[in-house]
Amino acid sequence: MAWFKRTNKGIQTPTESKKEAPDGLWYKTPSGKIVHMRELRNNAYVSPEDDYHVRIGSKEYFEILFDDNKFEELDAELSSGDPLKFVDSKPYPARIEATQKKSGLTDALRSAVGKINGTPLVIACMDFGFIGGSMGSVVGEKIARAINHSLEHKIPFLMISKSGGARMMEAGFSLMQMAKTSARLALLSEAKIPYISLLTDPTTGGVTASYAMLGDFNISEPGSLIGFAGPRVIRETIGKDLPKGFQSAEFVKDHGFLDFIVDRRSLKNKLSTLLKMLEN
């Protein structure tokens, strides 16, 4: 009965022949469902068992929406300045650089033009992984230029928001991005070019109080957190616990501020159907 007796103690496998389990091979949803990453990707990053919509970024949204993942990126070269020489626990440029390295992104938004089910569309999509998807000068300018592209080529505009709000490290400059983006949207509106705003989990602060709420259609994904003030701030202000489901997409729709909520798996088709209706 020596077969179950351990004769050699300790880990014997040499480091070089150690097999790494690839990071992120499975995904665990908040309710505990486990799904293989490839299955998740094939399912528009929605967990098949509990319909949980995983937070994704511009790369994934472009892949889900643009036909054959083909698109032309706009203004990819824009990156952040440091107008205020802002320093908190570290200087702002150092924070930007570190985040760029970690995320592989230049800032919290990417914009591109391409086709969805054959219909041309300009998409600007925020990346929460970049300093909480915060809106600074680069985000504002890229949105403004994306809208300009829509205006020049008469192509509808889709904004995918996912942000904690304005970027503190650009203070006054960030605040004015609310104005800049809204000004461009006013022009888009005058030109009668459709603007669809998709508010994803989470969309709060100055983003909600500017371009995210200004769509001809304001839409969202199930369960997204959408609000002006964050839940913690509200709880502290009113000194009471917040009701269940407060500030969820469903709550915001019930109060009349969203046109519809769409499952991400049918997002592309619903968008192109809507755009085609407006065209014909």
Partner: protein
């Protein structure tokens, strides 16, 4: 109430007052001493107010005796008819407005209103408007446009109200709509930060052909306290946060984020409401005159282009 840096000045002023009284009761000539003391006070005031830190300006902007929106309205207008309600939910008392007459010129005056005592502060919700306040402001702006009258917005708020019902009624949507619609207003719009200009709550009535700040005010994306609590994870770093945010009138004009600064009387608006109002009135009338010379289309274009140029990035 005296702020810490106001105390040395107040002490000297008290001394001067005592000396004058002493001279009166004892009938002695102290004019020389009085004169030198007055000069000393003047000098100290100048020194203090020329070297205010950013945090000290924030403190002045919140001074409990500082003039509020209605104070300025009553000081600078000959007639004022307040207009209430958003025609939808209710009348938000944190946002006031109405037609006013300034030297015969009719203008629409709009602004957040703070309270002077506990009861008023409650009524005015500390100058924190709800969505219906922003919608009331927009209704009034539309009315001004209809009757072709310029709009003046006086901004003084610690923020849009972060409450449960505010969220239910779409605080974000209300502010966003105001920002967008204000760009297309066909009449001149002048916005003045008269106290606190906190973030979305301020910019919700802050899109103007001219955006001005009074000397001792602040305008930024977040208050120094909240910034401190988020970035430094403690409320203790508000002075540092105020420095980092570059939120004073001087900072904002240096970064081309506002169009002008309105001088306050030496010692701050709260020490001389009449003086502050006079200056405000002069500036408002001057800018209305300037803006009336520009065509409607050009004014809207310039308004859009001005805000479109704001930003700092590398390409």
């Amino acid at each position: 109430m005296l702020l810490e840096f106001e105390k040395p000045i107040a002490e000297l002023e008290e001394k001067l007052h005592d000396m004058k009284q002493l001279a009166q009761t004892n009938d002695v000539d102290v004019s020389e001493t009085v004169k030198s003391l007055q000069q000393k006070i003047e000098k100290l005031k100048k020194e203090t107010f020329q070297n205010l830190t950013r945090w000290q300006r924030v403190q002045l902007s919140r001074h409990p005796e500082r003039p509020y929106t209605l104070d300025y309205i009553y000081e600078i207008t000959d007639e004022f008819i307040e207009i209430h309600g958003d025609r939808n939910v209710k009348d938000d008392k944190a946002m006031v407005g109405g037609f006013a007459s300034i030297d015969g010129q009719t203008v629409m005056m709009i602004g957040q209103q703070k309270g002077r005592n506990t009861k008023q502060r409650q009524t005015r919700n500390f100058g924190m408007a709800n969505p219906e306040g922003y919608r009331k402001a927009l209704r009034l702006m539309r009315m001004a446009e209809k009757f072709n009258k310029p709009i003046v917005c006086l901004i003084d708020t610690p923020g849009a109200y972060p409450g449960l019902e505010a969220e239910e009624r779409g605080q974000g949507e209300a502010i966003a709509r105001n920002i967008k619609e204000m760009f297309m207003l066909k009449v001149p719009v002048i916005c003045v930060i008269i106290g606190e200009g906190a973030s979305g709550g301020a910019i919700g009535i802050g899109i103007g052909d001219r955006v001005l700040m009074m000397e001792n005010t602040w305008y930024s994306v977040i208050s120094p306290e909240s910034c401190s609590s988020i970035l430094w994870r403690s409320w203790e770093y508000k002075e540092q946060a105020a420095e980092a945010l570059k939120l004073t009138a001087n900072d904002m004009i240096g970064n081309k984020l506002i169009d002008g600064i309105i001088k306050e009387p030496l010692g701050g608006a709260h020490t001389d409401m009449k003086g502050a109002s006079k200056e405000l009135k002069k500036e408002i009338l001057k800018y209305i005159k300037d803006l009336n010379k520009v065509s409607v289309e050009d004014r809207i274009d310039q308004r859009i282009e001005k805000f479109s140029a704001m930003g700092a990035y590398a390409s």
